[in-house]
Amino acid sequence: TGADGANAGGDAAGGSYPRAETLFTSGTQWGPPSNWNPIMNWTYATGTVGLLYETLFLYDPLTDEYEPWLAENGDWTNDTTYEVTLREGLTWSDGKPITAEDVVFTVELGKMESVPYHNLWDYLDSAEAVDEHTARFTFGEPRYQQWANWVYFNPIVPKHLWEGKSEKDVTAGANEKPVGSGPYKYETHDQDRQVWVKNDDWWGKDTLDLDVKPRYIVDLVNSSNEAALGQLLAGDIDLSNNFLPGIASLVKGGYKLQTYFPEAPFMLAANTTWMIPNTTKAPLNDAAFRRALASSVDTGKIVNSVYGQIVSAANPTGLLPIWDKYVDQATVDRLGWTFDTGEAKRLLAQAGYRDTDGDGLVENKDGSPLELKLATPSGWTDWNEAARVIAEGAKAAGISVTSETPADTVVQDMRESGEFDLILNNERQMDNTPWRYYEYIFNLPIQDQQTTMNFGRYENQQAWDLVNQLDATKVDDLEGMNKIISRLQQAQLTDVPVIPLWYNGLWSQASNNVWTNWPSAEGGAPAYVPSMWHGYLQRGAIKMLTELRPAEQQ
Amino acid sequence: MLKLEGVSKTYKVGAFARQDLAAVRDVSFELRPGEVVSLIGESGSGKSTIGRMILRLTSTTSGTITFGGKDIATLRRGALRDYYREAQGVFQDPFSTYNPVFKADRVLTMIRQSYFPDVGDADWRTRVREALAAVSLNPDLVLDKYPHQLSGGQLQRLLIARALLLDIKLLVADEVISMLDASTRIDVLNLLADLKERGLAVLFITHDLSLGNYLADQTVILRRGSIVERGATAEVFGDPTHPYTRTLLSSVPRLGERWTDTELEHGPCRYHQLHPDGTDPAGPALAAVGDDHFVACFALGEDRKCGQP
């Protein structure tokens, strides 16, 4: 486009990346790339895991299948022993071979308390390298679901380079000049970008017969979604994983843009947005009240007006569409709810909440004023707007809810310390198992600071036991899982510890200007998750890169 | 009644760098009831500063000013108000003495608010009429008017009337006539003379010697903050002793007498003629050269010759 005449010359002129061989992405990195440490899985530079460091397996949520990656296969040799065999001919980018020692070393890093997967060692007894290609893990108390998650989520790091690192370096070090095993190597970075260059010696080329197409991947740091939209429209970005409001109208415009679905909801569902009531506070400690609140939310309005139809309303269970097979429809029909202000009013009245002062809003049972606050982080515009709609709906049903937008860190504090009435949260992504989902909802025991789960401080020992039971169920035992999950759904639908609202999209909009053959739901197109977000490359997105094709030159 | 003893004033000047400027140095004189003292000197010699110090509009740096035996520097709030009941001032520029936003007779109202809150309307009106009559102003012409609607002379007289309302004993008149036309001037001067007859003490500040002479019993000649000569008006004018006084006198433009006619004589000043060896630094600041006539010689103690001001 005319706006970018400067880099029109795609030939390898001095300082520019050849446009036809470069993939520009955006939407993952919100600050400058600052570390390449795969252990710091919340801040590493986009692509550190997936492009550079690799996992033993890939897990494709769209097909619900594991694909061996570094591993050739992995098996439970008995109920408590797991053995993984690595492929032949794996090498680190410095030429050293990848061995079972590296795998064992990586797992043993978890013994450090501040490594995120430290809790692995709660149920793992030992890890040992049986031979160069085989590692064996012995579990005290097997948690099949968790382990299945671990093997595809966590990357293997090279022992020969990481051995001497202190705990600080492992959990907070920048790991500059990273050495990995993946299809890309670190090229350079700047405050506003991370550049990867193709690793021509990648083991996968021969072993998997796969080839990633872009020579360079430039991941751009964008401060705001609208900036990303501008660049996408200008053809400066090929893949934007930003939340771009209004994209629905642009997909049909002449911008050669594409989303996973050509029609609403356009995006795959990546996670569920819940409204979390603080179950330790009246009246939110009353399940009937929570249920009334749930019925008061006009999710349709949120989906259609706030999001312009790029999301879809959540099933009352909150289970993502990929988990449809776990939904117990009978239970949902019996216990579920839909938006119905009248029903909400009825539920309130039934539960004994009455409007005693005639302002149209109900009071607490003891007659004290009932005023709830719904906190969403300031600047999270879609949530702020959704919160406003929620408050509107609640008010219509007679519940006073006001939306407030403190700073992100404040919301964090609030939810960790439990000093809130209502918040929105979506911290569980599409995953290999709904166990992760229910762990989030029912996790016990309640701590003073709830850092990652069960922010609503909902206590239901029975449900938590079920969750643990689920964890200990083999991943291929669908029936066994379903039995437990059905009971969990029942618990969730009766007690409403969280109120699922809508499925946040796996925001992804691709431009066909330079690269084509993007993942899509349409027949013939590759069906992979189209996202560079943390954790998604190992969910199959890496294969998207092997399917890309350069656009026809005009 | 009013007594200045060794009064000095040092200003800090310069917007940023602080420098001392001695505007008044060691000035002493006295003012008795019914007496007019004229304070004469060139521009910047500290005349106004002295007047302002007497009225407590400016503080003194050293020395004391006593009024009726009381050191005025010690006066606070109520006492200060009482002082102003007896001592008042009128300033050079009648136009800037009135707040242009308000009517001119507001200066009278302010007096009433401060000093006569209890006086009834009718009573007050008669008092105002009396005071205006005393300065021969027609109340109908001056009351309820804005300052710019009145002439300088009217305004100046209104200010004097204001002072009269208070039944004052001391009036500091700082260049009250220099902004006025020749014809109006004389009316104001005559008015001051009448007040003096009524027993009022007036400190008459001017740089015009002929005007000082017209009115004053005593004359104080000031130069660069210090008194160079003082005494009974007749003596000072009749027998100017200090060369500076003589220069001043000779510079006064007089009708019927050209400047060139008076030639400045050289040689030692009269003070030095009388006290040829009067270089005694411990001696009094001003030496008597007549009954009621004192002089300071500025060449004293410096390697400057007399007669060269």
Binding site: E226, G246 | G89, F91, S96, T97, N99, V101, P147
Partner: protein, 304 residues
């Protein structure tokens, strides 16, 4: 003396400032004011906006944030300024926003004006040590980059209402007022009518407010206008970077929303042009009014 009626030009103490002289001048000022195109035009625009801000909201929806129309519709008969991506009525938001803008502008200007005047009068009239100290404080606040400070304060506050915003803007915009008022007071303080007031035994407060201040009335009025304009711009800036009120709507917030929801990329010009234009026209008219006033009060600038 002939009747002068202020025709002889008075040297102004500070450029841009003239003092008023009596009713004659007041009458004359009114005469010029009514004939000054800048003043009358500016005033007309400001008053029109003010009226729109006051009565406008009665004629539109009760809550300008509700979704009333089709999303992202251009200006039309039913939605004069079109709708936002959510289907909110931009015209309604504009009217409510105007209200907030006038509110923030006047409250902040009032606060800054009062602080600036108190500090300026005190420093100028008292002089000496008081002056030194106040001057020091003024200078310190003056060289602090206000936006940076306001950003920090705004970020610090959890609940930000329009009222709070107005107050914090007011609390940081006064130093130049203090300086200017001080300079004026210094020049007026040496005027003899102040001495006369002292000789009349008036207390300091009365001297400042009854003698000195009235002489600066026209100047203070202009200060207020400038403060108002500055505060509106400031508020818009804070709103724009997301440090504005956390509820309600203002013109700055409209711009903020328009930007956050990519109005520019989506081509929704009716969303981001009106609020900015509103601010510009109001503030611009105020400034033009200010020149007009300056010309009215200052004979040197008058067009004959």
């Amino acid at each position: 003396m002939s009747e002068v009626d202020g025709s002889a030009p008075e040297p102004a103490a500070v450029p841009g400032v003239a003092t008023v002289h009596g009713t004659g001048v007041r009458r004359e000022a009114l005469y010029f004011a009514l004939r000054n195109r800048k003043l009358v035009g500016g005033l007309a625009v400001v008053v029109a906006f003010l009226l729109a801000a006051i009565v406008g909201p009665w004629f539109v929806t009760e809550d300008p944030l509700t979704y009333v129309g089709p999303p992202a519709a251009g200006p039309s008969g039913s939605y004069w300024l079109g709708t936002t991506t959510f289907g909110q009525d931009v015209w309604a938001q504009f009217l409510y926003g105007l209200r907030a803008t006038f509110f923030v502008g006047s409250v902040a200007a009032l606060i800054a004006g009062v602080i600036g005047m108190v500090v300026g009068f005190t420093a100028g009239y008292r002089g000496g040590l008081v002056d030194e100290v106040l001057n020091m404080i003024t200078n310190v606040v003056l060289v602090l980059p206000v936006l940076a400070v306001l950003m920090i304060i705004a970020a610090y506050l959890e609940v930000r209402s329009i009222e709070v915003q107005a107050v914090i803007i007011g609390l940081f915009s006064w130093p130049w007022v203090a300086r200017a008022v001080r300079a004026q007071t210094l020049s007026l303080r040496s005027r003899e009518f102040v001495d006369l007031a002292r000789l009349s035994g008036l207390p300091v407060r009365r001297i400042i407010f009854r003698e000195i201040a009235p002489n600066m009335a026209s100047y203070l009025f202009m200060v207020f206008i400038l403060l108002f304009g500055g505060s509106v711009l400031f508020a818009a800036t804070l709103d724009f970077i997301g440090l504005g009120p956390t509820d309600g709507i203002s013109l700055g917030l409209m711009l903020n929303h328009a930007k956050q929801w990519s109005a520019m990329n989506l081509g929704l010009w009716w969303w981001f042009i009106p609020p900015g234009l509103g601010i510009t026209v109001i503030v611009g008219s105020l400034y033009i009014m200010n020149v007009g006033l300056d010309e009215v009060f200052n004979p040197k600038l008058r067009e004959m």
